[in-house]
């Protein structure tokens, strides 16, 4: 009996030693993983801090309310942020309905055959097309063939094309997250496909779709190459006509065809000047772009959390 006990104890020691050995791998991987994470995070953080150090002297109200100027200390972002805002507006108005409709169609309506398979593969691939290619496409299609000019409309449409795959993929993924039994429940009471989509699918996938839209918009905000390709101005000291008027009909659309600049282009412009004083402006603009992007992504995360909280499958 005691012999048996002894051998059991010995085995137990061996087992514990083995567990310790195996667990060592856990620790090693945890450290490797943490390092990998830090490479990305610390690089971004260093970059951000560097930009802030370079540009902080320009963080004052004037930086946002003044036009670009020959004198660096008086040059501001006014035309750039207004331009970015209006371009984003066109992008959202175009990309959201197109992207959501395409996503819903592909998930709910498209017959499953080789043709829809090809479309599916292409949509995924589109997300990987370099953005300058979209710029060239837009230059040919929107500027020359459709004669929309080097305008806010052209830029907004171009960026809409660019983020369309993001919106489509986000829409499809959040639709796919809806369990089959919820969908079947809706069909079982006699709903048509459209009733299922409009009363259920869109409601339940709203959080995910919104997240995709915001992340796409954040990407569009920082895009430079396609906007340069279509010919955004790099120095403008005027604002587009206001979209909202004081007199009827209150709304006007002249701004759509106005020349414009956007934040990353303004930054690029300042950066390419020999005078170092302008580089400070560029750094400050970089900080503005990063902060806005992070805020948008943060909003996306918060919204997803808020909306998902009320839906448990």
């Amino acid at each position: 009996m005691s012999e048996q006990q002894a051998s059991t104890l010995k085995d137990l020691d061996a087992v514990r030693a083995m567990i310790r050995r195996h667990k060592l791998n856990d620790y090693i991987f945890a450290i490797v993983g943490l390092l990998a994470l830090m490479v990305g995070l610390l690089t971004l953080l260093t970059l951000f801090i560097d930009l802030v150090m370079d540009g902080y002297t320009r963080f004052n109200a004037g930086f946002f309310t003044e036009f670009p100027s020959r004198r660096a200390a008086h040059a501001g972002l006014l035309s750039a942020w207004v331009g970015s805002l209006l371009v984003m507006l066109v992008t959202a108005v175009t990309a959201v309905p197109l992207g959501v409709a395409a996503g819903v169609y592909l998930e709910e309506y498209a017959p499953k055959n080789w043709f829809s398979d090809i479309i599916e593969i292409n949509v995924t691939n589109l997300a990987g097309v370099p953005s300058i290619i979209y710029g060239l496409l837009a230059l040919g299609l929107f500027v020359y063939i459709l004669d929309l000019g080097q305008s806010i409309l052209t830029a907004g449409l171009t960026l809409a094309l660019l983020i369309l795959p993001v919106v489509i993929v986000a829409t499809r993924e959040s639709i796919r997250a809806i369990p089959v039994h919820i969908r079947e429940a809706a069909y079982a009471v006699g709903a048509t496909k459209w009733q299922v989509v409009s009363d259920h699918i869109l409601h339940y996938s709203f959080g995910g779709i919104l997240t995709g839209i915001i992340i796409g918009m954040a990407r569009a905000l920082g895009e430079t190459a396609p906007v340069i390709t279509i010919g955004a101005l790099t120095f403008i000291a005027f604002l587009p006509p206001s979209p909202i008027g004081a007199e009827p009909p209150y709304l006007n659309f002249e701004w759509l065809s106005a020349g414009f600049t956007v934040l990353p282009i303004q930054m690029f412009n300042w950066l390419s000047r020999p005078d170092h004083a302008f580089h400070v402006n560029a750094a400050a603009t970089g900080v503005v772009i990063i902060v806005v992007t992070l805020l948008m992504n943060g909003t996306a995360i918060w919204l997803r959390y808020r909306i998902r909280k009320n839906i448990k499958w």
Binding site: H181, V189, H200, I311
Partner: protein, 259 residues
């Protein structure tokens, strides 16, 4: 062998069913469904009982490539609900379904019950309120939820959620209600209340229920059909099926020698 004391509400005639890919899941099933009775479908997993049930509301039409052969005829209008010309939505307007896992919509309790009525074009608020109340009473849920109709349905317990799903299926005044293992996700107390509810419901509606629980079939059903490998092996009065079945296979399954 078939007792004929009740009119037939629907009957499957030589029904074959093929899943996308060609697997033949139902083989020449003939089965009468008697009006305002409970018919139970029993059999081991994979025998085709759920497949058979889902033919009755054309649920298989939601997925591409599935194929029916044969007929399911509804009485008294003699409509073959599997016919190409019959819209599955029309079928689902007449035959409602309660699923295995409680599957309320992530909406309010009221909206869950009202949805079937909205789909049918009901817009009058007062009629809607009345029908929702009736359905919730019919599902023995009214007293528990009448003060919180606008709360999200997920706040209910599992058993309450399933009764809510029954109310949703009941609100549209169906001719037949399909139950696909309605208690398999519930605890014994919730199961007992659902079974009691089903026994009450048969005064109003014809019920077809799939169950893998033979005691449940014996407790609640008037008729029982035993299926195996896509075939209907035996169909009879529940009392006869569980006491002196005429087929050896049925007896083996019921006595637990097999399955």
């Amino acid at each position: 062998m078939q007792p004929n004391n009740a009119p037939i509400k629907a009957e499957a005639r030589n029904l074959n069913f093929y899943y996308n890919g060609g697997h033949k899941a139902l083989k020449g099933v003939n089965l009468p469904i008697y009006e305002k009775k409970i018919t139970a479908l029993i059999g081991p997993s994979g025998c085709g009982k759920s497949t058979f049930l889902r033919c009755f509301n054309r649920m298989h039409d939601l997925y591409p490539g599935n194929q029916y052969e044969g007929q399911i005829v509804m009485h008294p209008d003699n409509t073959n609900i599997l016919a190409k010309g019959v819209d599955p939505i029309e079928v689902r307007m007449r035959i409602s379904m309660v699923f295995q896992k409680p599957n309320p919509f992530p909406k309010s309790i009221y909206e869950n019950v009202a949805y079937g009525l909205r789909v049918r074009g009901e817009t009058n608020k007062r009629d809607m309120d009345n029908k929702v109340e009736q359905a919730l009473r019919g599902a023995a849920l009214w007293d528990e939820v009448k003060d919180r109709l606008n709360e999200v349905a997920f706040n209910l317990s599992g058993g309450q959620q399933q009764r809510l799903c029954i109310a949703r299926a009941l609100a549209t005044d169906p001719e037949i209600m399909l139950f696909d293992e309605p208690t398999s996700a519930l605890d014994p107390i919730a199961t007992a209340s659902i079974e009691e509810l089903m026994s009450e419901l048969k005064d109003k509606v014809t019920i077809l229920v799939v169950t893998h629980n033979m005691q449940q079939a014996a407790r609640i059903s008037d008729y029982t059909a035993y299926m195996y490998l896509g075939e209907l092996i035996e169909f009879d009065d529940t009392d006869i099926m569980f006491t002196k079945p005429s087929r050896r296979e049925t007896e083996d399954y019921i006595t637990g020698k097999f399955g």
